[in-house]
């Protein structure tokens, strides 16, 4: 059975958790439709078992592993994280998962590996949104290896102590809370270690609007809207957005010396 919920670890926010109905009913997951309510409506049919994850590229232990085996390798942890969408809204979400760093230590990137790339499932039979070429399918995302090793970076398999709902990215999704929500790739099927920075889905779709880093930054506006404030779902008003979504103490060092206006 799953551990009891503990949300006062070093990485947990003290802020109140969002309503589970909002977390599971207000989603951006274009594989299941463009409306926020589409994923909850359409993702139920997705078969998340059996599911394999292919690990390849610059690693000492390339392999294809079943999701249940993969998650059995690590003790699962509860993490209460803020999630800031690039559209200007946010949620406080109780994830359950394991640190990405733990997975990386297990698969052992070679010395030349500098980036980690994730790819989502893109099955038009199960995902009606994939029939629509609104994005370059399959969805893919990536992190610099040192970002991926940061203890905040989580591979989520659950939510609020239960198995991850399909609309939230089951069976395996990335959670990098200091970055905009679109970095948190869902339904991961492939993990590849690379020497060069790969292209990512949203940066291909609109390179001037969505960068590789996508760190939450109130000082760098989206070309069409301000990122200075956000609406916490459930609130009527807006609150100021914090640099790195409030996780600056943990992650600002990763970007020392970088111009975050250019590397947005």
């Amino acid at each position: 059975s799953l551990p009891s919920r503990v949300y006062h670890g070093p990485y947990d926010t003290k802020e109140p958790m969002s309503k589970i109905a909002d977390i599971t009913g207000y989603n951006n997951y274009y594989e299941f439709g463009l409306d926020k309510s589409d994923p909850a409506r359409n993702a139920g049919k997705l078969k998340t078992r059996p599911w394999t994850v292919q690990i390849s590229g610059l690693v000492k232990k390339p392999q294809t592993v079943d999701i249940d085996t993969l998650q059995s390798w690590f003790p699962l942890e509860d993490r209460l994280y803020r999630m800031r969408c690039v559209e200007g809204w946010s949620l406080v979400i109780p994830w359950l998962g394991f640190p990405l760093a733990a997975l990386l230590r297990r698969i052992e990137p070679t010395a030349g590996a500098k980036y980690i790339q994730f790819t989502s499932l893109a099955d038009p039979a199960q995902m009606p949104g994939v029939r629509d070429p609104v994005l370059n399918w399959p969805y893919s995302e990536a992190l610099r290896l040192d970002e991926a090793m940061n203890p905040l970076a989580l591979m989520a398999v659950g939510l609020d102590g239960r198995i991850l709902p399909n609309q939230n990215g089951a069976p395996l999704r990335l959670v990098v809370p200091w970055k905009y929500g679109f970095k948190n790739i869902k339904a991961i099927t492939h993990i590849k270690l690379l020497a060069e920075q790969p292209k990512t889905t949203w940066s291909i779709a609109a390179p001037d609007e969505y960068g590789f880093y996508a760190n939450v930054n109130p000082a760098v506006d989206h070309p069409r809207w301000s990122q200075a404030t956000e609406r916490r779902i459930g609130d009527l008003g807006r609150r100021p957005t914090l640099p790195f979504n409030g996780y600056g103490a943990q992650v600002a060092g990763l970007y020392k010396g970088m111009d975050l206006r250019r590397n947005f």
Binding site: D22, Y26, Y30, W89, S226
Partner: protein, 210 residues
């Protein structure tokens, strides 16, 4: 009661019903997790739809006339469509203000810095003279020619509205695209009818001379 007498009340009810539903949905929590944003989007879309519908009335009447069908109701509902469209645009602005915490300085900054706000706000401001000259006696007071020329602004408003819609969505441009297609069709019909009219009544040329 002649059939055409129902046109204006029917359009008025049809145009205002979504607003009633929106308000009731708000108070019964039916607008989802982000109700302000939903209301903002819905009023914006409704404003654009009504303005495009009001622009469709004249081409519709003229096209019908070409196949010898005399429609009276389009001209009657044009004003109602335009005014309710302007109403939704106004509500849209109020909700936008609410979204930003009623910060006039913030709105001004947005209006200067964000092209889609600049464009949307311009469309809204251009609606004001149209609303103010929508009274029956405005045509007489301005003179038909001047009134007509002024009200061609409604096409500018619609075009800016479509652009505003286009720039405000993150990725899915199907809604703005549909609006653009409607707008272009309306432009096309106007141009076509205008050229035909010119060809028939305009300066003599080889084609019309005999």
């Amino acid at each position: 009661m002649p059939a055409n007498a129902w046109a204006v009340p029917a359009v008025l009810v049809g145009a205002l019903l979504p607003l009633v539903v929106l308000v009731s949905d708000y108070f019964t929590g039916q607008l989802g997790a982000n109700p302000i944003q939903r209301a903002e989007q819905q009023t914006g879309v409704l404003a654009l739809i009504l303005i495009l519908l009001s622009l469709a009335t004249t081409p519709l009447r003229l096209l019908a006339a070409r196949v010898n069908v005399r429609l009276l109701w389009p001209a009657k509902v044009r004003k109602t469509l335009g005014l309710t469209g302007a109403l939704y645009a106004g509500v849209h602005l109020v909700i936008y203000g609410l979204d930003k915490g009623f910060n006039p300085l913030g709105l001004l900054t947005d209006a200067v810095k964000r092209p889609y706000i600049t464009v949307g706000l311009t469309a809204l401001l251009l609606l004001i003279p149209l609303v103010l000259t929508s009274r029956k006696d405005s045509v007489r007071r301005l003179g038909f020619e001047r009134w007509t020329r002024l009200h061609r602004l409604s096409y500018v408003v619609a075009a800016l509205g479509v652009l505003h819609f286009w720039w405000s969505v993150k990725k899915d441009h199907s809604g703005p695209l549909a609006a653009l297609v409607v707008l272009l069709v309306l432009f096309g019909v106007r141009l076509l009818l205008q050229n035909r009219k010119k060809a028939r009544t305009g300066t003599p040329n080889v084609a019309s001379g005999d």
